[in-house]
């Protein structure tokens, strides 16, 4: 059943009529994702790639009560309200692709989602793919292949790079989750690793971290505390990044004396995680780790 996204996933696209929204609606449908409806205020009654558009999430959900997942392409200024709307309509998994949402808005919406028991992925994330089942995101799906390795990542293109390397090495993926590159995001490494650990269709886990914050250190602390039954390999981008400079992602910055790749690597290694020095080493380390456990 993989994690987060599976054959039962029924998708709502918020901001479906915009450039990004419509392009990716077509691409997701093409991959076989079951998209039941889209929402754009004042566009109710139209369609995008045959998907009916509604003015309000409540209307979409009323007409399509099977909807259980939303993907948000709404521009940053309106995205937080779109997420509240989805939460209030009872949708429990919301994937926010939108980038450039102000951090205080994200803090508020993540707090609200927690209050209402909804899971948030992102913002500023490529989404989630369960290869050959469904993609709720913007990733180039041809690089992914069905299999038993779970990927969780703070980066978009680097996820594709790693997924492709795994695919070519014969490691298909159960699910790949992009948690987003912002300083504050909904689900974190620990949340997703716990899901992979519990998922019978996942045999091994790949974590792609980067500089900034302490998400990797928290994962390391979690693993030290709880242990992990499945083999895990990590890669941390940004070893050569200078202090105090934002490396593209809003969250990728070494600041307040923490967040360097070295610290993260050290913490993970200390927790028994295999850490690759280059993305291309991931499949090799994974193979070794699996053999070791077997």
């Amino acid at each position: 059943m993989a994690i987060l996204i599976d054959a039962k996933t029924r998708v709502l696209v918020q901001g479906a009529t915009g450039r990004e929204g419509s392009t990716h609606t077509a691409s997701m449908l093409n991959y076989g994702t079951k998209i039941l409806a889209g929402v754009t205020p004042n566009r109710g009654g139209s369609t995008v790639s045959g998907v009916p558009i509604y003015d309000l999430v409540s209307e979409a959900v009323e007409s399509h009560p099977e909807i259980n997942t939303s993907i948000v392409f709404v521009p940053a200024s309106a995205a937080p309200e779109a997420v509240y709307e989805a939460i209030d309509a009872g949708i429990k998994l919301i994937i926010i692709v939108t980038e450039r949402i102000p951090i205080h808005d994200t803090i508020n919406l993540v707090a609200h989602a927690e209050r209402k028991g909804a899971k948030i992925i992102g913002p500023n994330c490529p989404g989630v793919i369960t290869p050959e089942v469904a993609k709720v995101g913007i990733m180039p799906a041809h690089l992914f292949k069905k299999g038993r390795v779970g990927i969780v990542s703070r980066s978009g293109t680097l996820t594709y790079e790693v997924a492709w390397a795994l695919t070519r090495s014969g490691f298909g993926q159960s699910t790949a989750v992009g948690i987003g590159g912002d300083p504050v995001v909904g689900l974190g490494f620990v949340d997703v690793v716990q899901m992979f650990e519990a998922d019978p269709e996942t045999d091994a886990i790949v974590v792609i971290g980067e500089i900034g914050g302490d998400a990797e250190e928290r994962l390391a602390a979690y693993i030290r505390r709880q242990g992990l039954a499945k083999p895990i390999v990590a890669y941390i981008a940004g070893r050569s990044a200078p202090k105090g400079k934002r490396m593209g992602h809003a969250g990728a910055i070494i600041s307040l004396g923490s967040g360097s790749a070295e610290e993260k690597r050290a913490a993970l290694i200390d927790a028994g995680v295999n850490v690759a020095e280059l993305p291309s080493q991931i499949p090799i380390l994974l193979k070794k780790a699996i053999q070791r456990r077997a």
Partner: protein
């Protein structure tokens, strides 16, 4: 965005915090005039938005016009941590009985804002966080109700304040938190915050970093970018994520994580990157062309490494952009890794233009390092 110090001081004052008298000046004459207006002892403060300015000689205490002239001239000719000093703040010198730290920032793991206070001021927050010598008191802020007075009170007691100083600290904290929130800050701090006689609290230094993503709703702020060098400023205008680095291999790619990994791979093979340049997702040939031209303006770049894994980005667009950019201006070696959507079309364009390409990032990075060595 790092606000300029004088702007941060102005915002502090408008929020109701006490700040020293201060005047922004651009030249020696202005500094002398400002000194006459303020008098007594003043601090000359280089206006560069980097941490550790004081330690790097960017703050000078002076007590006469002659001294002001001499020191202002010196400072205005200097560079601090690579940033040219273009202006100075002439600031009234305040005699503090004690220096404190008060700041607000985002705690990523708690997913909340956090208020931080310390009974010692004038030390980098970075060092405060790491040091075992000082107690840094923290209060997480519930986004749904904001900083409460009792939390500020707790901070005040935690850093050892007593009596009237507590009340003033609480009031100031509430005011500065409101500023932090209303300006969408990532960081707002006063360091040092002077505790003076009669329990007065005066913000000797004001530092504000506004969340770039929130700038569209803060048209009231002057767009300053003192923390960026000229090339970085230009890149931002063009919409690129660009960071100047100290090596000689320029790195361009699509996606922040991928570009970071490319830098790491270059470093792994013994090279030193000269820049980080992310063209973003779905770049057109024009965007790629601009990116290449921009990177080539970095004088340190001796080899250019382009790493594109096309997903949303189409390889043929990338190739076209590269070819166009390099047509007239191919003075240095270029190494390309190009895979993904429309890769065949893209590679054909490269071949026709005589540009080689690689299948893997590692091969390309290694090749770039070799090209630099002239191998």
């Amino acid at each position: 965005m790092n606000l300029q110090e004088y702007e941060a001081l102005r915002l502090f004052a408008s929020a109701g915090a006490k700040v020293p008298k201060h005047i922004l000046v651009k030249d020696v004459e202005g500094a002398a005039e400002a000194y006459k207006a303020i008098g007594g002892t003043v601090a000359l403060k280089a206006q560069v938005a980097v941490a550790g300015r004081g330690k790097a000689g960017g703050i000078v205490k002076v007590s006469s016009e002659a001294e002001v002239r001499a020191q202002a001239e010196k400072l205005l000719k200097s560079e601090i941590k690579g940033l040219k000093v273009e202006s100075l703040l002439v600031e009234e010198w305040i005699n503090a009985e004690k220096e404190l730290y008060l700041g607000f920032t985002i705690d990523r793991s708690a997913k909340k804002a956090v208020a931080l206070a310390c009974g010692v001021g004038g030390i980098d927050l970075e060092d405060l966080v790491k040091s075992k010598d000082f107690t840094l008191v923290r209060e997480h802020i519930d986004p749904l109700k904001g900083l409460m007075r009792y939390q500020a009170y707790h901070l005040a007691k935690g850093i050892g304040l007593k009596g009237g100083a507590i009340i003033r600290f609480v009031d100031l904290s509430i005011k500065l938190y409101q500023l932090f929130k209303s300006l969408d800050c990532e960081l707002l701090e006063s360091n040092p915050l002077a505790l003076c006689k009669d329990d007065l609290l005066i913000a000797l230094d004001a530092r504000i970093i506004v969340d770039d993503n929130a700038l569209p709703r803060h048209s009231e702020l002057a767009q300053s970018s003192l923390d960026l060098n000229p090339l970085e400023r230009e890149a931002r205008k063009e919409g690129f994520s660009y960071v100047d680095l100290e090596g000689d291999i320029g790195v361009i790619g699509n996606g922040a994580g991928l570009v970071m990994a490319t830098l790491d791979t270059v470093t792994y093979y013994g090279g030193r990157p000269a820049c980080f340049l992310d063209v973003g997702g779905g770049a057109s040939s024009e965007t790629v062309e601009k990116a290449v031209r921009l990177a080539l303006r970095n004088q340190r770049v001796k080899v250019l490494l382009v790493n594109v894994l096309g997903g949303i980005t189409r390889c043929d667009e990338v190739a076209l952009g590269l070819v166009n950019a390099l047509q007239a201006n191919r003075t240095i070696p270029i190494v390309v890794r190009l895979v993904g959507v429309n890769e065949e079309a893209g590679r054909r364009l490269l071949r026709e233009a005589g540009i080689g390409y690689y299948e893997s990032m590692e091969e390309a990075a290694e090749a770039a390092v070799k090209a630099l060595r002239g191998d």
